[in-house]
């Protein structure tokens, strides 16, 4: 009896979530396979022919291969800023968890403030211009690091707190200098939370739209999200191409999701529950 209700309930849940959560993605895929005429109908129908590849080629070639530039830019921003985030946040999280000083309260306040306070956009642009970083990838990378540091720090600090301090002390007795303690003993043990950080932050930064919109104007340094946004008006009559574009930029997060599902969920919940 109980089993039957659970199967019935499961079937109902599967059907409902399929309609709500899966159909939109199937819609995206179907649209990406259609030709321009059929896609203009914007209905949920089977493609009359297989046009995916030609759609991809056309999207990629649009505006002088802008899609390729955008993918390269987004990759550079994501990889470099996540690398910096991981190193700097691990350093802060480690010392913050281990060393009790009167600065800790202030630092923790700043970390929480960073999670809550919306960045002041125009003053940031003004500052970036002063630093000659406005509209550059360097500037964008530093912005992503600055804005995402608090979350990474919270993840690291919570994890460092679970590593027994005895290990540090054993290492110190063994003759480890401060950098040895960090790099040889603590950092290797931080690997699980580092994976989480890498995965969560790279998805977030890759998908970031608002910050590139403000700080990376112009086509030269466009990111994939900006490109998609700009194509929205360019492809207003070519829905097949618009959805091909959406499909293409959904692939990286999909891959991440397939390989790191567990770490993402662990990281987002751990950081959230503790923060």
């Amino acid at each position: 009896m109980k089993k039957r209700t659970s199967i019935l309930g499961g079937a109902a849940a599967i059907a409902a979530t399929f309609v709500v959560f899966v159909i939109p993605f199937i819609f995206i895929i179907l649209m990406a396979f259609k030709d321009r005429q059929q896609s203009a109908l914007r209905d949920f129908s089977w493609p009359t022919g297989f046009h995916f590849w030609e759609n991809v080629v056309e999207v990629v070639k649009t505006r002088n291969w802008m899609m390729i530039t955008a993918f390269i830019n987004s990759s550079i921003i994501t990889v470099v800023s996540v690398t910096l985030l991981v190193i700097f946040a691990a350093m802060v999280g480690y010392v913050l968890a281990r060393r009790k000083t009167r600065w800790n309260g202030l630092i923790e306040f700043l970390v929480l403030a960073g999670l809550m306070v919306p960045p002041a956009v125009v003053p940031t642009i003004w500052l970036l211009q002063g630093l000659k970083l406005f509209g550059t990838l360097h500037g964008m990378i530093l912005i992503e690091v600055a804005y995402n540091l608090p979350f990474s720090i919270i993840l690291y600090r919570a994890f460092v707190a679970t590593i027994p301090r005895d290990l540090d002390e054993a290492a110190i007795i063994d003759g480890a200098r401060p950098l040895d303690v960090f790099f040889r003993v603590v950092l290797p043990l931080l690997w699980p939370v580092t994976v989480t950080n890498i995965v969560v932050q790279s998805v977030g930064i890759f998908n970031d739209f608002t910050n590139p919109l403000y700080y990376l104007p112009g086509n030269a340094n466009a990111t994939v999200q900006l490109t998609l946004y700009n194509f929205q008006s360019q492809f207003s009559t070519a829905y097949n191409l618009l959805f091909t574009n959406i499909l293409l930029i959904t692939i990286p997060p999909l891959l991440v999701f397939m390989f790191f599902n567990r770490q993402i969920v662990a990281g987002m919940t751990a950081g959230a529950v503790k923060g």
Partner: protein, 360 residues
């Protein structure tokens, strides 16, 4: 050759002083045990010697060098932690060899030393394992191995056996004792377990409230505790105490009486106490014997018959309760009256300040 000298060593956290001026000298090769209740400062003192805690005041000398400001790695010490503190991401081999690696010891030398340590501790077959694959006793060995390879002048042990089960604890205790004989090194060992202290130590340091209560060999502490705290802390079961007044001082014997005892004779040189002094009488449970009409009379409470001895809980008239460990099997019944006597040479007296009124 490295002895240690602690001169007025102090430690405070903010305004709270946890080590209040400890003076102690430890000779090379000695096995010294710091013992005391939890929070007495024994671990803090050990960590100050290790260099893991800053020294607030006083001087710490290891060998012939003041090491207050010397890094732990340069103090010639090694330490075994209560939690073992093995590096989880390294194999046993790498755990043991980590210190040598940091010291840039050549690989061949390192390998030799690791294997020597493993042989001494009979753990050669464990070298490729990770700490998570080891039992508690094996982890303990690795932790000791890690200390041995450093060839320190001074070994520091911080309650190393408290995470092991009782049987294993006895084994490891013997092993540490053997190690001490073989290595000819100074060892400082922290424990709250007085059996460990009694069995291992050449010299016991009893600490309470950040102050050294008494330093001495195990038997000295057992027989001649300096004060009420040491008397109560060393020895199991705990020493019995009762408030008394001195009534008769004659030659080398003092007779004391109180609400619960009448005319107990205590061997004491003349002139130490005067009639009427308020004192505390202390008698170890093992030093009580059954008598037909004894100085101490009470009602039998709980009786534990172990065969070779009988542990009796005796309720005294004032409501206080004493423990007596009687030889052999005694068929005592709950509620019956029992009279006990004390060997005058084994009874102890403490003055109003809790200090022992010295016997000799």
């Amino acid at each position: 050759m490295a002895g240690l000298e602690l001169k007025q060593l102090r430690k405070s956290y903010g305004k709270v002083e946890v080590i209040k001026g400890v003076d102690l000298s430890i000779e090379h090769g000695e096995f010294v045990v710091f013992v005391g209740p939890s929070g007495c400062g024994k671990s803090t003192l050990l960590r100050m010697i290790a260099g893991l805690e800053d020294i607030t005041g006083g001087e710490l000398v290891i060998g012939d060098k003041v090491v207050n400001a010397v890094e732990p790695r340069d103090r010639g010490i090694a330490m075994v932690f209560q939690s073992y503190a093995l590096y989880p991401h390294m194999t046993v081999y790498d755990n043991v060899g980590f210190g040598l690696k940091l010291a840039r010891t050549p690989k061949a030398v390192r390998d030799q030393k690791i294997r020597d340590a493993a042989r001494i501790l009979q753990m050669e077959h464990l070298l490729d394992r990770k700490p998570s694959q080891l039992s508690g006793g094996q982890r303990q060995r690795v932790a000791i191995g890690r200390a041995i390879v450093r060839q320190p002048e001074v070994f520091l042990f911080d309650e190393p056996l408290s995470n092991l089960d009782a049987a294993l604890r006895v084994d490891m205790r013997m092993e540490i004792s053997k190690l001490h004989n073989d290595l000819d090194a100074t060892m400082i060992y922290v424990t709250h377990d007085q059996v460990e202290a009694m069995t291992l130590a050449d010299k016991i340091v009893v600490l309470d409230g950040g102050v050294v209560q008494q330093v001495g060999s195990p038997i000295e502490l057992y027989k001649h505790p300096a004060n009420l705290f040491v008397a109560g802390f060393i020895g199991s079961p705990k020493m019995n105490f009762v408030a008394v007044n001195a009534d008769k001082v004659s030659g080398d014997t003092v007779n004391v009486s109180g609400p619960d005892v009448v005319g107990v004779p205590v061997a004491l040189p003349a002139g130490k106490v005067r009639p009427g002094d308020k004192l505390t009488l202390g008698v170890r449970p093992h030093d009580l014997v059954v008598a037909t009409s004894g100085a101490i009379v009470g009602r039998v409470g709980l009786v534990e018959r172990l065969g070779n001895e009988t542990i009796v809980n005796l309720e005294l008239p004032s409501g206080a309760s004493w423990l007596a460990v009687l030889d052999g099997d005694q068929a005592l019944k709950r509620g019956e009256s029992l009279a006990l006597d004390v060997d005058p040479a084994k009874a102890l007296l403490f003055d109003a300040n809790g200090l022992a009124v010295a016997a000799a």
